[in-house]
Symmetry: C2
Subunit: 246 residues, 2 copies
């Protein structure tokens, strides 16, 4: 191929976005990774994002170049409150998986993906990038309104009305969500095939100060189920007691 197309990849430091990053690199994009510091309880997640961005592609995966640039933008989602993830309420623990898949959890952050995608759009416009990658998943997180395919389609439509390049007819914006219809086990298998080191990723909503995952929040439970179903050992360091949680 000729000159590589630029893409902005939203990178949270979790399992899903690390997989999406590997997919964007595999597909030949010149990748600009974007993370947010948004007053999340789990700041450990950002440390994970840095490591993932630094080690994606490159020497670890033959022939795949690394991330071109990684930016962390500070935004203040705490200004409005309204979520357990920004510290307003307690993170629920030990919920049955069937319950996690239904309803909208207290860890939902109001309009978070809309804000994240808006920033990605701003950077894409400055970079003259036409592609934005986001690791949303509609199966495990059916309760999040902004993880659904119809939401993503609406944002893509908006993006193509919002930007100078679109108005001038220079470039269409595409929002890529390669995980949207995959199970957690399928995501893990796809990522392992691309050399993703899941030991670097952080999923827990409520890790210990040392970064150990709690093993019992919704995100930990979904992650553990995914590794179980993929038939692969989970490299996550869980708190000692967490392994007694089914």
């Amino acid at each position: 191929m000729g000159e590589r197309q630029k893409a902005v990849v939203l990178l949270s430091g979790g399992l899903d976005s690390a997989t999406v990053l590997a997919m964007a690199l595999r597909d030949g994009y010149e990748v600009f990774a974007l993370s947010f510091s948004y007053g999340q309880r789990h700041a450990w997640e950002l440390a994970a994002a840095k490591q993932i961005a630094a080690r994606a592609g490159g020497p670890g995966v033959a022939g795949v170049p690394g991330v071109k640039e990684h930016r962390i933008v500070a935004i203040d989602l705490r200004a409005f409150g309204g979520s357990a993830l920004t510290g307003d309420w307690a993170v629920p623990k030990g919920r049955p998986l069937a319950e996690i898949a239904e309803g909208i959890p207290v860890t939902y952050v109001p309009a978070r993906n809309t804000i994240f995608l808006s920033y990605a759009l701003a950077w894409a416009e400055v970079l003259a990038a036409g592609d934005i990658f986001l690791g949303v998943n509609a199966l495990d997180y059916s309760g999040y309104p902004d993880c659904r395919p119809e939401y993503i389609a609406a944002f893509e439509k908006l993006a193509n009305l919002a930007t100078k390049a679109a108005v001038l007819g220079e470039r269409r914006i595409r929002i890529h969500t390669p995980l949207i219809a995959l199970s957690k086990a399928e995501i893990i298998r796809a990522g392992l095939a691309l050399g993703v080191d899941y030991g670097l990723t952080s999923s827990c909503y409520d890790p210990s100060p040392a970064g150990e995952a709690c093993g019992a929040c919704d995100a930990c439970l979904l992650r553990r189920k995914g590794f179980r179903e993929a038939g692969v050992a989970d490299p996550t360091l869980y708190k000692a007691h967490a392994n007694t949680v089914p």
Copy 2:
């Protein structure tokens, strides 16, 4: 009417948003005003927003209550650059009005309205507000892609897919843009009828440290033309030499 409906009003400190604020108050909404500190050159604008929010409605306008709450959220649009308004380039001066109305100016901030509306949506969701007001204008700023009616309609559609309340069928989100088809002169006349003190508003993209408007940037030129056409004295304090600009 019974309990007042809550509305989030985006308030920049400029002439347009001050007018929209007065309209939302007139229409009986309980108003939550939202401003952003985004690395704009013209930080003086934020001081104006504070004064406008503090003095809108209330004793000045009989029977109209004031703003319920005003929040200023710090966001970092400088992280990506790409606009004269965030300090990357020089603000153009003395452009012909016909040129201002066409093309996309260097003062355009990539994805700015998308980011602003996303934050307004987050606050609206936390407040359980269904209405968001934005002072965009498609006539004077036809060059800004995110000031057009089709862009606003796309954001409204997105908002109704993005939020918990919409998914649960509890509440629709409406994006109000009462100025979108008005000329600057019409906006000024409407605002004066509602008691807006335009002496408090700031339009200039490049004011002096003391807050005097340059009189020659696109925003000043459009403002001056508006007051001229409305047949009303412009209370703005311009730099001495500015008055020689037609």
